[in-house]
Symmetry: D2
Subunit: 461 residues, 4 copies
């Protein structure tokens, strides 16, 4: 679209190239042309137009034969993208066979072509995302298994809470990712449906052949036939946007955790930057978590974009004025941003540096405070919950204030020391119990993941 | 919560009373207490605490026994709602049986109680919505059937386009409503799950009894056991919000259509106001579509509220600082607003006045222009599509300018008149073909609705 | 940026070309280079670097000399747009004068260049918008004056309420537009400020010359010096976004009114489509309000984009991870969409067809009901407000039901008829009083507009 | 509003009590009644109604005399809050003086009362916020002054970058807060305006006395007279929402920084919890930053609420259907949430614990890496920028890998060591230069703050 200056600097940072091809100008054009070609074939099969005309029309439905800049220009006056395409296609067909040109787009309205074209783009896009979700899932499953018993300081409200394992954190990301991938799979039959209704969604121009043509057209395109044309009922598109928003938010959670773990003072993980990257114009020591930042930026943007798709739902009558048009750039943008976040996630997880030594050191750095709950629970058997909790709370504050180990503070109170045997005191400040508990949950989550993956494998052709 | 001044003036306008009870302060408290009671029973069944203690605890789990204002006050310092409840419950239990108080909330963390309590509230809320969706579906199905062949001017971009029927418009609303209800049913198994993880989601305090207690606890509450605790993986809640957003948007589309059809100049339908309502302090003739306005206001608000739930997803580590807290009032508010929109929709549809005379009069008021496509298609058989479209376009503009009927303009061009027989000319300006086509689609959509309803009926116990 | 497929089909529909040039890839690059050139000049003036080096650097700061695709590609690894530009500039300078290359970007950090470059782009963008706001204001002022006394059916809740004038409606748009333009003017001194802080915002690398260089740099660029560097304090940018959102919403209100007035059944105004536009692939009679749809689509999208800018505000420490990056495409997009809406508004108002005959006809079409308030007020002098309101309400409903004129219904009740003289009855159903009242307000608003325009004129150089 | 169950549990956590009083049901009612009382007084002064009637009306305008629950109930059918109030007021007046009741609400429409009432509530609310902003500003100014030279590890992308001071961080918060307070002050004359237009905004019912009554009414209420009534031009309200959003985002930035600095591993600051708060049901050692979490939750919610106010702007004709109604609960909620965030901020800053020892220790913990930029700049004088940057980058990575100090790594390369004298080497790894630079900026920012405060002081009466 060569007379508008480009504004694509950050495309490679925020969007995956394969998805950019799907939602390019050419991708949009080919989607519309695929609809027109299939419509011609379907009408020929129904005996409504000559087979030769259909063949001529199909032969003119290659996006590379059209001038995208001219089509974009013509869309300003037309108010949508299909009107100029249909006009250009008709002219193109007419140069081969004037009579065939009469049969272009018969019975359809421009929104039929635009919406079905979009559905075809979405089908490709959902394939791309499914592949990347599967790949990321495998990476996370392996990482979780590897670190199923690697101790990690569990943190709540950004404070040390109680020990867990790095593997359990990763299993949490994986479990959520699986749900997101599952939702994207589940919505396909609802969403990958034909749009075909003609001027006001009645298909009146086709009379009693409407159902037959609809059915053949859906078959040509490999799409489902919906209850009704959906020119102004757009819940399916908003549903797709929402499912993508859940995926992006889930990746955002992973990026948030990683960015926090990578802080200089914590340094439990490091994102390996893309080749030659992550630096600073001023600071030579910097290695910035560029991918995490890109994912978090996307997770900041996408919720608002999803809300646009919800805001557009109250569309007027048989075709909207404003709401429909607001979808045109929004839904593709959500797919594009989701693809970029997913690509970053795969790269980050694929080359993540995890430092188990540091994980363990940080866990112990709070001088036993991270075991306070375990200690309180143990003392509660003698003291009751409230008194034990209270005792340990006071000891914790003292330990923090004096920079001493919680155990030392507790043991200097001889009455307290006597509640438990020395061996028990030792065990209380050992992460093992926490680690074992976490590892069991990791195993359980990985088994569930494998079961889901196997089920998907069976479901696939 | 008696020391904060109330701010509930519009509750009855925007929220359904039954839903307000579910998401009241008392509802929240009862949800937390139900978790604590079930936890005690589960641990007693597992032999971890005495049965008598469990019984005492359960006996103290009635919301009406607690001072809500004091609990709310204590939540400010605590930073969440469960800490004061657990403390109050423990005190209450201790007054009956001091030993039993040691067993309150064992192994759990406050978020376990808050989240599971919320899930229990959501279960009730989803029931209420399912009932109302079913009821509205029945109303719409009846309305669509009644008007399957009532001619309506189809409108695109707020302009007359081509004829359709009022029944087809209603069937469009119904089909979308069914999808929304279907999504809310589909997400139940994913969403109605137990939250139980203890301090950092490892259940370490329960050692190797964790899985058993989890399973018994879920059984007590009638909830599913999830892969893993989900303290900081909140996609399920955002998914619920999104499904509610789709429902609200779908109701918004219906309200938009109705409000436009009820305009003074169009007057095809009228919303009967609630008893004594819809008036104006200044204008005695007014009958405002109050319910449509309430639904559209809700459809303007909910997309943004849904986006908050998506924005909260990147929650930190094992429990979040900010994101989790942002959910607390947001998700209940979405349920509440959805319930109000649905209640208005039921009332509006239940007493809608449809004026078929006016529907027909408006259709004809554009003096044949609404048949322009049909005419152009008919002439295309002689002239080709482009020339026919062009001829009719020019005639349409002339007819509009001269306030004449399109047919009269076309027929005064004798060459044009000759392309078709007088009977054909007559038929072109008759809505019958459009009406028949629309009615077929209505029948198809109603059959699909009945099939879904039957399937749901069978699935229900 | 030639290796990413373009996705610009709708640029011309939703964005103004002049604004697209400002926020193009080249515009972004030139902004960064302008900062680097000015920095070199400022440091030369401060005696920190040789004048010749500064000259060489400035000579290399032409955007057209750089490979945008390579810069975009390098930004993926770098994580921002300035790092590769500084590197490329340094190489370019080194080819002329290796020593001069040592002086590129001294003391600055990449965010200094990016943010100041953005501010320079915004200055151009605000100029463009000011010009268009002024132009639209003149158009609206003329339209309001022309129709100051053209009767219009005032509509509330989409129902006829009481008469007003078309000019008063237009004056309402104008008054809001003036406020929006005023806000955009007011924020310039707050927003058009230099960003210059070095690595963490201390300018430590410049030692005690920091203030001097800052001041010279700001002078070179014609920008204000802020209190402090603002790498992570982004309220200024969100403020700009909000002011643009107000403008877009105000244009949306105008487009909403116009689209409703242009409905087939109302037809009081018509948007003249762009040459050859507004049609339909299926319906030859259609003339769609394409510009209104584009504005309304923008008004649906921009609020969410503005919310992203607000969501990014809690940025981490001295430079953010996620929030900053989320701004990069969002703020330019808001400018671009605002520019497109404004361009459509100018085109629409510049060629709007207003049909005073139809305005008057619609006013009278509700058979006197639109005068119900006036009548009730007049009767209240005899009956009291409540009784009069009640009487007229009942008569209104009877008139509507029987399709009779309200006056006829009232006058057949002889007691009622006697409250007023025949002349008074006549006058009550004449729009003149309403029209006069509205025209006075129009005059008042136009005077205020002229006063503001004169003040702006004086303020300008 | 006693027949709807309360849902106010989190009011005290998220909202300030004084603001809750302003935006309570009673506050809303009093706002409407204040309008009605002032209208009666203004009309009496204009000689349009008897002074005694005005006095009677005013005597009935006390909120505490009305049944809020009944008014809320009646609002459902009425569709707005003023219709039932006007009716109840009229009845109340009639019990004293039947004739006076004829003069209630004359010439006005319900939206006049609702909007002006809202403006009166906003005036109180803006006062409350101004007081709190001023108070927080004083606290921050003192904290910044105290720590103007307290070294802090500057962090970008959550990584150590270069030294700065804690005072400069605080000065950044202060400077942004001042801008936010300034915006809220600036918008008062634009926003604190009367709404008075009658049925369709023409004031036709008052004939040629309209301007006089408007002027007297504004005088009675101490409000400005706007250009025009603004029933459907709502940019002023969205502007208020945006300014509140900027304030909340600015507080969110402060809370984000504090929460990150309070992390267990960093521990440079601690939020003192409210008395007895910040704990955990499971973990006795926890001291959660409850206030930061509340502020961040608010900063997550408010951007979306602001977007609702922007989304409502395209309101239909002379009074909207949906958009207006969407404002009713949204704008008050934004004020309420902003007040709560501000109250938390004041409490947190008022009792913040800052640990300068820890600040310094963390700065040094990265073993000289935080000085890498300074070192590279120094070496650049001998080596040129690129080579120096590259040398230091490699040394930094080696130092990190080997857990050695950057200086030691550099000095073992004898060629490198020789570029600078031992004293220079020493100075490079001393934060003093950075601290001095930062302190100068703090002084500059504090001076600017004082100047602004003085100007505001002078502007106030």
């Amino acid at each position: 679209v060569n007379d508008v200056p480009t504004n694509q600097w950050f495309d490679l940072l925020f969007r995956a190239p394969a998805m950019s091809r799907v939602f390019s100008d050419r991708g949009r054009l080919q989607g519309i042309l695929d609809f027109e070609a299939a419509l011609a074939r379907a009408q020929a099969r129904a005996g409504l137009i000559p087979a030769a005309a259909a063949q001529t029309i199909c032969g003119c439905c290659r996006a590379e034969d059209y001038d995208l800049a001219a089509l974009a220009q013509a869309s300003v006056a037309a108010g949508n993208s299909a009107i100029p395409v249909v006009a250009a296609l008709t002219r193109q067909v007419a140069t081969s066979d004037e009579a065939a040109a009469y049969h272009v787009h018969t019975g359809a309205t421009s929104q039929d072509a635009m919406d079905t074209g979009l559905v075809l783009q979405m089908r490709q896009a959902l394939e791309l995302l499914a592949t990347d979700c599967h790949g990321l899932g495998e990476q996370l499953a392996q990482l979780a298994a590897e670190h199923r018993a690697t101790p990690l300081a569990g943190r709540t409200w950004l404070q040390h809470a109680a020990p867990t394992t790095f593997g359990l954190k990763v299993a949490g990301w994986l479990s959520a990712l699986d749900r997101c991938a599952g939702r994207l799979a589940d919505l396909r039959p609802r969403v990958l449906v034909l749009q075909f209704g003609g001027a006001t969604g009645t298909l009146a121009a086709l009379g009693d052949r409407a159902a037959q043509v609809t059915s053949l057209l859906a078959e040509e395109l490999g799409l489902q036939v919906p209850d009704l044309p959906w020119h102004a009922q757009r819940d399916r598109l908003a549903e797709v946007a929402a499912a993508l928003g859940l995926l992006v938010g889930t990746l955002g959670k992973m990026a948030r955790d990683l960015a926090l773990l990578a802080q200089t003072e914590i340094a439990e993980v490091a994102e390996l930057p893309p080749a030659g990257g992550g630096g600073s114009t001023s600071m030579p020591q910097k290695s910035n978590p560029v991918g995490c930042a890109a994912i978090l930026a996307t997770a900041t943007r996408v919720p608002a974009l999803v809300s646009i798709m919800f805001s557009t739902l109250p569309q007027e009558h048989e075709r909207a004025l404003g709401g429909w048009q607001a979808e045109w750039e929004t839904l593709p943008e959500i797919f594009l941003l989701a693809s970029g976040a997913l690509a970053h996630a795969r790269r980050i997880i694929g080359s993540l540096r995890v430092d188990p030594h540091r994980l363990r050191a940080n866990l112990e750095a709070s001088r036993g405070l991270i075991y306070a709950q375990t200690v309180a629970d143990a003392l509660a058997r003698s003291l009751g919950h409230a008194a034990a909790h209270d005792l340990v709370r006071r000891a914790s504050h003292q330990a923090a204030r004096q920079e001493r180990h919680l155990r030392d503070v507790l043991l200097e109170d001889q009455q307290c020391a006597a509640y438990l045997s020395p061996a028990e005191w030792e065990q209380l400040f050992d992460p093992r119990g926490h680690v074992d508990a976490a590892a069991r949950l990791v195993d359980q989550a990985l088994a569930a993941h494998q079961a889901r993956a196997a089920a998907v494998g069976k479901a696939a052709p």
